[in-house]
C-alpha cells in the first residue's frame, strides 16, 4: 500500500514546483508544520501576556484596599485576561497542535485547504492587537469580564467597536480553521485509517471543530447585535422588558460549547500520551469516541446552568440542572478509561506522562466542583464566587494547559530531533504541580466563605487565603521559565539527538517519520501499519 499516489494528496506547500519566498511561505503557511508552529508561537506569547494580566489581578488582591490599579482598570484587566487566555492562548494552542500533528497522525501531507491556513492564522494576531489596544482607546476596554454582558458593556466608550471587531475576527478565524481541520480529518486520512481507527486526538478534534463551527457564528452575531444596539438604534438587549437576558442566552449558547472546545482536545492529547507510557493500548477506544460525541451533543443543552440566578422559570431550572448532571457521566467514563489504560501497563514517568497523570487527577477536581455547581439550588450560593473561579481554572490550567505541556514534551523531540532535559522537566513538573494547587485550591475556600469573583477589593476576612493564592500565582509563573528554557534548548538544537521513536511505547504514524521530521511528509501517501493504529482491527 506504500507510496500510492492518492487523489488529493498532492504536494501542497510548493505550488507550481517553485520554492516560495520566505515572505510567501510565512504568509500562506501552506506547510502544516509552519502553520502549526505559527499558532503555537502566538499562543505562547499570549499565555505570557494573559499570565501577566493575571499577575496584575493577584497583586491587587494581595491585600485589602486599593494598591496598584483603579477598580475600573482592574475590571478591564479581568476582561482582557479572560479573552486573551481563551482566544489568544488556549484556542490557538489547540489549533496549533491540530494543524501541526493531525496531518502527520492521519498520514496526510498537509491540511485540506493548505493555503487557507496562513490568511486565517494572521487574522488572530490582528484581533489580539486590536483587543490589547482597547484599554488605550477613549474610556478604556469593557469592564465586563470575558462574558461581555449588556447593559454594562454599553457603558464602554469609543473602544467598543474595536472590541466587537476583534471578537468577531477571532470568531471568523476560529470558524475557518476548524472547518479546515474538520475537512482534513474527514477527507485526508490515509487509506486504511478508518474513522474508528483514527488517533483519539483526531476524534476529539473532529467534535471540537464541529462545536466551533456551530457556535462561532452565534458569538459573532451576538457581538454584531451589541454593535447594532449601539450604532443602529436597535434594541436587542436594551429593551424595557428585561431583554438583557436574551444576550445571556445567546452568549452561553456559544459559551458553553466553548467550554468543551477548550477541553476536548486536551482529552485527545492525554488519550494519546497515557497509552504510550503505559505501553498498552487505550482502554475503551470506542467508548471514548462515544463519550466525546455525547459530550459534544450535550454541550448544546446545558447553557442556562450559567444563568441559574437570573430568575429562570422553575421548569428551566430543573431541566438545566438534570442535563448538566448527565454530562458528568460521559466525562466520568473518560477518567475511568484513562485509569484502566494505566492499569496493568508497564509505566514509566517521563515528563509527558507526569503531566498527563496530573491532568487526570486535577481535571477531576475541576470536574467535581462542576458537578457540585450543577445542583441548581446550591449553585445559588456558589455562583459568581471564587468557588466557580477555582472550578474553571482547575479545568483549564491543570486541565487543558497541563495537557498541552505534556504534548509539547511528547512531540518536541519529533519536531526538533533533540531531547529536552528530563531532569529540568521533572523539576518543572513538581514545581508546577505544587504551586498550581497553592494557587487555585484555596479559591474554593474563599468562594465558599462568600467572596464574589471579579471584585477589585475585599473584606479583611478573605485576606489570608488571598495572600496564599497570590504567592502561588507568582511561584507557578516563575516556574514556567524552566519550561521555556527547556523547550528553547530543543529549538536551538542543543541536547542529545532524539530517536525517530523516542518513546518506545508510542504508536502513531508521526513516529514513522525521522527525527527531526522532514519539512514535507507523507507527500506520496502514508503506509498505515496496523501496529500504529489507535485501535487495531
Amino acid at each position: 500500500m506504500s507510496q500510492i499516489s492518492q487523489p488529493g494528496h498532492r504536494p501542497v506547500s510548493r505550488p507550481h514546483g517553485v520554492a516560495p519566498s520566505r515572505l510567501a511561505r510565512w504568509f500562506w503557511l501552506a506547510n502544516h508544520k509552519d502553520a502549526g508552529a505559527a499558532y503555537l508561537v502566538l499562543a505562547a506569547i499570549m499565555f505570557l501576556v494573559g499570565s501577566g494580566l493575571s499577575l496584575v489581578i493577584r497583586s491587587e488582591l494581595f491585600a485589602p484596599g486599593i494598591q496598584f490599579v483603579d477598580p475600573a482598570v482592574y475590571n478591564q484587566v479581568v476582561t482582557l485576561h479572560g479573552l486573551i487566555m481563551i482566544f489568544g492562548g488556549i484556542m490557538p494552542a489547540f489549533t496549533g497542535f491540530a494543524v501541526m500533528m493531525l496531518p502527520a497522525m492521519i498520514g496526510a501531507p498537509g491540511m485540506a485547504w493548505a493555503r487557507l491556513s496562513g490568511p486565517v492564522f494572521w487574522l488572530l494576531p490582528l484581533a489580539v492587537v486590536l483587543l490589547l489596544s482597547t484599554p488605550w482607546i477613549g474610556g478604556g476596554a469593557p469592564q465586563t469580564g470575558w462574558t461581555m454582558y449588556p447593559p454594562l458593556i454599553m457603558q464602554t466608550g469609543a473602544s467598543l467597536p474595536v472590541f466587537i471587531v476583534a471578537v468577531c475576527v477571532t470568531a471568523l478565524s476560529g470558524f475557518i480553521s476548524s472547518a479546515n481541520v474538520f475537512v482534513t480529518l474527514i477527507r485526508r486520512r490515509a487509506p486504511g485509517m478508518a474513522l474508528l481507527r483514527m488517533p483519539l486526538f483526531g476524534w476529539t478534534w473532529l467534535v471540537t471543530a464541529f462545536l466551533v463551527m456551530a457556535v462561532m457564528p452565534v458569538l459573532a452575531a451576538t457581538m454584531l447585535m451589541l454593535g447594532a444596539d449601539r450604532y443602529l438604534a436597535t434594541d436587542f438587549f436594551g429593551g424595557p422588558d428585561g431583554s438583557a437576558l436574551l444576550y445571556q442566552h445567546l452568549f452561553w449558547t456559544f459559551g458553553h460549547p466553548e467550554v468543551y472546545i477548550m477541553v476536548l482536545p486536551a482529552f485527545g492529547l492525554v488519550s494519546t500520551i497515557i497509552p504510550s507510557f503505559a505501553r498498552k493500548r487505550l482502554f475503551g477506544y470506542n467508548s471514548m469516541v462515544y463519550a466525546t460525541v455525547s459530550i459534544g451533543f450535550l454541550s448544546f443543552m446545558v447553557w442556562a446552568h450559567h444563568m441559574f440566578t437570573t430568575g429562570l422559570p422553575l421548569p428551566a431550572e430543573l431541566f438545566f440542572m438534570f442535563s448538566t448532571m448527565i454530562i458528568s457521566v460521559p466525562t466520568g467514563v473518560k477518567v475511568f478509561n484513562w485509569v484502566a489504560t494505566m492499569w496493568g501497563g508497564a509505566m514509566t514517568f517521563e515528563a509527558p506522562m507526569l503531566f498527563s497523570t496530573a491532568f487526570v487527577v486535577m481535571f477531576m477536581v475541576g470536574g467535581f466542583s462542576g458537578l457540585m455547581s450543577s445542583l441548581s439550588p446550591v449553585d445559588f450560593q456558589y455562583h459568581d464566587t471564587y468557588f466557580v473561579v477555582a472550578h474553571f481554572h482547575y479545568v483549564l490550567v491543570p486541565g487543558s494547559i497541563f495537557a498541552m505541556t505534556a504534548a509539547l514534551y511528547y512531540w518536541m523531540p519529533k519536531w526538533t530531533g533533540v531531547m529536552y532535559s528530563e531532569g529540568l522537566a521533572r523539576l518543572h513538573f513538581w514545581w508546577s504541580v505544587v504551586w498550581i494547587n497553592v494557587l487555585f485550591f484555596p479559591m474554593h475556600f474563599v468562594g465558599l466563605a462568600g467572596m464574589p469573583r471579579r471584585i477589585a477589593d475585599y473584606n479583611t476576612q478573605f485576606t489570608d487565603f488571598n495572600q496564599v493564592i497570590s504567592l502561588g500565582a507568582a511561584m507557578f509563573f516563575l516556574g514556567q521559565f524552566l519550561f521555556v528554557y527547556n523547550m528553547g534548548r530543543c529549538l536551538a538544537r542543543r541536547g542529545p539527538a532524539a530517536l525517530a521513536r523516542p518513546w518506545d511505547g508510542a504508536r502513531g504514524l508521526e513516529w514513522t517519520l525521522a527525527s527531526p521530521w522532514p519539512h514535507e511528509s507523507f507527500t506520496q501517501g502514508a503506509r498505515v501499519d496496523a501496529r500504529e493504529l489507535a485501535k487495531p482491527d
Partner: protein, 395 residues
C-alpha cells in the same frame, strides 16, 4: 454489607472533618473554608445538600486516586512487569456508566425538591422592593411608606481611599457595612422583589440564601425566613462596573417589636399587629434550648421539629415520607424510628450509608429532641423520649 457501610463511614467522617474545619471556627472567620449554614431552613437544606454532594465527590475522587496510586505503584516498567494486552471490558464500561447515573439521580431528587421550595414566594409576611443602582441599593417597603437608600459605610470608603491613613484593618466590616441596613422581623417570610435601574446586579447575603440577579426591566423574586436575630452581611455578586466591590448589603433581623418600632422611627406606617405572624413572631429561642441539659416533652418536640426541618427534611421530607426511589427511606413507621431508641440515637450520631453523621454538628439536646420528634410525629406515636444525657452517653 459491612464493607459497604465502612465506606459510608469514611464518607461521613470526611464530610464531618470538612464540616468542622469550615464551620466550627467562628472565632477565626479569616480562615473560613466552607459554606456557612445560614439562618433559614432553606440555607440549612442547601448546606446539607452541599455537604452530601461534597462527600460523594470526595469519595469518588479518592476512590479513583487510590486505584491510580495502586497502579502507579505496581504497574511500572521498573518492576519488570510485562504490559497487559486488554483494552476493553464491556461489563466494566457499562458499570461505570450506569452507577454514576444512579448516584446522580439520587442527588437530583432532593436538589429538585429544594429548588421547588426556593421558588415558592407566596404568602409573604413582609414584602420589600429592592432596586440595584450603580453602586448602591434602594429599599422600599410598599405597605408602610418606608423608603431609603443603602450605601457603603463612610469609614469603609475612607479606608478604601486611604483617607487620613485609614487602613482596611482599622474599620469594622470593611466593605461589608452600610449607612442604612435593611431591617426585617425574625421568623417572618420576607419576599424581595428585585430589579435594577441600570446594569445587572445581584443581591446576595449568604446567611439568608443564594443570589438573585437584579436585571433592568425585569423583577426577580427571592424569599427567606430568618430564624435568628442578628446582622447578616453580603454584597453585590454580579460585576456591575467600577464600584462593584463597593455596594454591600447588610440585613438586620430584629424582633417583631423592634421591627415595628423601626418602621415608626422611619416615619412609616407600622403594620397592624396581626399582619405579622404572632405565633412565630419572636419564636422559641432554639439556641438556648439546644444548650439545655434537660428538655420537657413540649420543648423536645419544638426543638426537634426545628432540627428536623433544617437537617433531615431535605432527604426524609417534611412529612417523613422520605424518597424511597432515591434511596432515602421513609421515617414514618420505619424500623429505626419505631424500634429501640438506642439504635435510633446511634444512627443520628454516627450516620449510616448516605446519611451523614450528625454527632459532630448537633448538641446532645438537639439530637435528643430530633429523635423524640421523629418517634412522636411524622405519623409515629412511639411515646418514648430521648434525654440529652442519654445521647451524651452514647457518643
Amino acid at each position: 454489607m459491612t464493607h459497604l457501610s465502612r465506606h459510608w463511614r469514611v464518607v461521613s467522617a470526611v464530610a464531618s472533618v470538612i464540616a468542622m474545619l469550615g464551620v466550627f471556627r467562628p472565632a477565626r472567620a479569616a480562615w473560613q473554608m466552607n459554606l456557612g449554614r445560614g439562618v433559614t431552613d432553606l440555607t440549612h437544606q442547601l448546606w446539607t445538600l452541599h455537604m452530601v454532594m461534597l462527600a460523594v465527590c470526595v469519595f469518588i475522587f479518592l476512590g479513583v486516586c487510590v486505584v491510580m496510586a495502586i497502579s502507579i505503584g505496581r504497574h511500572r516498567r521498573a518492576r519488570g512487569v510485562t504490559p497487559a494486552t486488554f483494552d476493553e471490558s464491556i461489563g466494566l464500561e457499562i458499570a461505570w456508566t450506569i452507577i454514576p447515573f444512579a448516584i446522580l439521580a439520587a442527588l437530583a431528587i432532593p436538589g429538585a425538591s429544594t429548588l421547588v421550595a426556593l421558588a415558592d414566594t407566596s404568602d409573604a409576611d413582609v414584602t420589600i422592593d429592592v432596586t440595584g443602582h450603580q453602586w448602591l441599593w434602594e429599599y422600599r417597603y410598599p405597605n408602610t411608606g418606608v423608603h431609603f437608600y443603602s450605601r457603603l459605610a463612610a469609614d469603609s470608603r475612607r479606608a478604601e481611599l486611604g483617607v487620613d491613613g485609614t487602613r482596611p484593618a482599622d474599620v469594622s466590616h470593611y466593605l461589608r457595612d452600610v449607612d442604612h441596613p435593611l431591617v426585617v422581623p425574625v421568623n417572618a417570610k420576607v419576599v424581595l422583589n428585585i430589579t435594577s435601574s441600570d446594569v445587572i446586579h445581584s443581591w446576595w447575603v449568604p446567611a439568608l440564601g443564594g443570589k438573585t440577579d437584579a436585571i433592568p426591566g425585569r423583577t426577580n423574586h427571592k424569599w427567606f425566613t430568618a430564624d435568628a436575630i442578628g446582622t447578616y452581611r453580603g454584597q453585590c455578586a454580579e460585576l456591575c462596573g467600577r464600584g462593584h466591590a463597593f455596594m454591600p448589603i447588610v440585613v438586620k433581623v430584629v424582633s417583631k417589636a423592634d421591627y415595628i418600632a423601626w418602621i415608626k422611627a422611619r416615619g412609616g406606617q407600622a403594620p397592624a399587629a396581626g399582619a405579622l405572624p404572632d405565633a412565630r413572631a419572636d419564636g422559641p429561642d432554639y439556641a438556648a434550648l439546644a444548650r439545655q441539659e434537660r428538655l420537657t416533652r413540649s420543648q423536645a418536640m419544638t426543638l426537634g421539629r426545628h432540627v428536623y426541618q433544617a437537617e433531615c427534611a431535605a432527604c426524609h421530607r417534611n412529612s417523613g415520607a422520605g424518597m424511597p426511589g432515591a434511596g432515602y427511606p421513609a421515617l414514618t413507621a420505619s424500623p429505626v424510628a419505631t424500634g429501640p431508641i438506642a439504635r435510633h440515637i446511634d444512627q443520628v450520631i454516627h450516620g449510616k450509608k448516605a446519611m451523614p453523621a450528625f454527632g459532630g454538628q448537633l448538641s446532645d439536646a438537639e439530637i435528643a429532641a430530633v429523635v423524640t420528634y421523629e418517634r412522636n410525629a411524622l405519623g409515629n406515636a412511639v411515646g418514648d423520649m430521648a434525654a440529652p444525657d442519654e445521647v451524651g452517653a452514647r457518643r
